[in-house]
Amino acid sequence: MWAEYLSRRLLQFVIVLWGAATLNFIVPRLAPGNPLRERLVTAMQQPGPMQQGIEEMVRAYNVQFGLDQPIWIQYLKYMGAALRLDFGYSITQYPSKVLPMIMGAMPWTIGLLTVATLLSFVVGCLLGALVAWPHVPNFLKYVVGPMMALSAIPYYLLGLILVYLFGELIPLFPLSGGYSIGSQPELSLAFVLDVTHHALLPALSIVIAATGLWALSMRGMMITTEGEDYMTFAEAKGLRRWRIFLTYGVRNAILPVVTSLAIRLGHVVSGSVVVEIVFGYPGMGNLLFQAIAGSDYFLIYGIVFITVLALTLATLLIDFTYPLLDPRITYRRTH
């Protein structure tokens, strides 16, 4: 059973990556006009020292993609390159290759998202569980209710509002960038504090919106545990209230929420892309924004492929840790 689930899940993983790579291959060839050629031609029409680079670039692409060869050979070669994570050169910043540019931006995004996601998951689940718990004071329900409505709003809109609040009205936080201009990236306390200071507002705008999302699904699940036999039994045993809450209620309610964490991860990443732009945060979202603005197609495709790879990998890991959380899991699909 476990092997069957494992293989099906791995197959799904391979299909997603294959699909993403194929999409990267097909879309530019179906799109009206050839973006690469157009880009190169406009660049070539501009006078200046770029000429040499362009010629080299055209040659490099012709060799790399074998553009004169039949389409299926191009496809196979493309797939081989994608397997090696080789996305070629950036068009706007030739001769930089795409992969190192992405690798430079990635730690920023991963750091921001990991902290924001974990924080909002823990806080959201706790709030959602508390709201569904009969023994909490009423005021909590009036606080969490509006928060749940906030979960419907894209993160970056909250980001814009935060920028305005803390930029115009109470200038407490830096509004843009990942660290202060002039400071050197290094492993010192001062730099870490500086980075944290810069990351606070972007993280906050993700946390505020995402917390409501988790609270919402947790509340839904917590309600189903209420009135279950084991809850009554725990109460009859005279267990302490917080113990019933945590080890009987939350323990059972959290499982489906963890699965939805896997599904929502893509949502979180998509949302954070624009947050980074709002805050000028030096991560993948900002790189993507610049790539789009400069029509740097190879950079765009590289970023999308790497992000899809990272996300499907994360989803896979969450799915595989699931049986550790829930011993009842049999991995036979029920409806």
Partner: protein
Amino acid sequence: MSATTVAAAPAEIVAIPAGRTRRGSVLAYLSRNPQLVIGLAMLLALLVVDPIGSRMIDVRRAEPLSELPRLAPSWELPLGTDDQGRNLLAVLVAGLPLTLKVGFLAGAIGLAIGIVLGFLAGYLGGPVDAVIRMAVDTLLTVPALLVLIIIAASIKGVISVATMALVIASLAWMYPTRTIRSQVLTMRERPYIYVARFNGMGEFQIIIREIAPNLLPYLAAAFVSSVSSAVLASVGLEALGLGPQSEPTVGMTIYWSLHFNALLRGMWWWWVPPIVVVVSLFVGLFLISSGLDEIANPRRRRRA
């Protein structure tokens, strides 16, 4: 509260003559489901912006160079103007219906695909079900916005509001398919379906006359949530600068205000109105969908 509700409902139906029952109970129900009412009111308010607004203001003023640039709000120009001399109130009046159009069009297409695939999977079962389920499960793990970015970036410049809706709809059918499939699966086994079948009703008729009406609340909820995610995707793409370049959609207004750094230049009248509109659209849709959820899943009525 839940106990009194359950006890009161049948008594009401017995007491009131048949003609008044339905309307009376609908009103009574709505008064107990304020989320749905508020959400619908918010959506309605946004929907009437176009017919009312376009009568009060000339939407051609949304074009660049129609006013002096960078004017703060005043009596004549209630929302001021941007760097290129667009009248921002006209931009809002012209742009909001476009954004709503993308959302509703993509949501409707997504739902239609979801209905077809969901019924096929739930009714036929076997290999058809397996393939559809695999496709849905696989695509749900893909971050939709990123895939949309590839497509939209490749047709940047030639994208229109309708193409935008089509592109977004191509990844908006998975949730509806999943919901409808699981509902069809449970409904197929209900006793009243067996009764209908024993009475000689054809399969097609069963779908139309027995299953579809019971599916309505789920369809409505699925529609609202797919509209909401379509708007989310479209505003996201537009804020990245991938929307229809010459149309003043709400997302493009956000993009231009980011692009020209309106935020740090104190031009709040440029970015606040689109945000207010988008936030109220999302909150309205959210309230409608959680209101509908309460109709579809009676368990939720027992809420905290």
